[in-house]
């Protein structure tokens, strides 16, 4: 039996993610759509780490890239919930979420771009995730959700995660 070698320490995978969440704040229900956030998943000496690039102020680990992403997704929602606990009104929540998502971890920007180039060159096995252009536009939309627009689908985590490929 041939054993598949583990990726080398330092292997870096560039991701684009889109998450949609419905949350409760003080006196409001809010829909958050974070589109084409950037994260870099790195095989470190101990495990895989998903480092946020945008938003830059977060990270999460896992035994493999899928697990690291699952932890990252959970951490992202926890940050939104923490913000919802701290604010007093929708406008305050919206501003805080936009600031959080807009912060760039400059320390990972060049590594993310280099990793997107390795995807373009076909040097990374991209099995398991779709691929999207690294230049896909990033945005965050924070909107009030009317009570008559809430349905059972809001109980389900909604996400897309794809490899970023340089042009």
């Amino acid at each position: 039996m041939t054993e598949i070698p583990s990726p080398a320490i330092g292997t870096a995978l560039p991701f684009l993610f889109t998450y949609r969440d419905t949350l409760f704040g003080p006196g409001f229900v809010v829909h958050v759509e974070a589109r084409n956030g950037r994260a870099l998943c790195v095989r470190e000496a101990d495990q895989w780490w998903m480092y946020g690039v945008n938003p830059g102020g977060m990270a999460a680990p896992g035994a493999d890239p899928h697990a690291a992403h699952a932890a990252f997704r959970k951490a992202f929602k926890h940050v939104l919930i923490d913000i919802a606990h701290e604010v007093h009104a929708f406008d305050e929540f919206k501003a805080a979420v936009e600031t959080f998502f807009g912060e760039t971890n400059e320390g990972y920007v060049s590594e993310w771009a280099a990793a997107a180039e390795t995807i373009r060159q076909g040097r990374i096995d991209t099995t398991g995730f779709d691929i999207a252009p690294a230049s896909s536009p990033r945005s965050i939309a924070v909107t009030i959700k009317a009570l008559d627009k809430i349905d059972a689908d809001d109980n389900t985590a909604d996400l897309e995660v794809r490899y970023a490929e340089a042009a």
Partner: protein, 80 residues
């Protein structure tokens, strides 16, 4: 095995490398702010053992890069 650092050592590093930083405990994590940048997911540590818990080193690597204090932090802590 995940590589870890003690929370008190992380606070000591921040006192040196990010003077005037703010840290606040939320329901899910510590939130550390310095120079207008915030790292929002520094773990609280396992339940029941939060006085000086082990923190996975990857969080500290991400935090010091985001707060732009990586050079100083590397002189204070083993971030490998």
């Amino acid at each position: 095995m995940p590589r870890v650092l003690r929370l008190k050592d992380i606070w000591a590093m921040l006192d040196v490398c990010a003077p005037g930083h703010q840290r606040r405990q939320t329901d899910h994590a510590w939130r550390v702010t310095f120079n207008g940048r915030t790292y929002a997911t520094l773990p609280l540590g396992p339940h029941g053992r939060r006085e000086n818990p082990d923190i996975e080193t990857g969080h500290v690597r991400a935090m010091v890069r985001h707060l732009q204090i990586a050079g100083c932090a590397a002189r204070q802590l083993d971030l490998a």
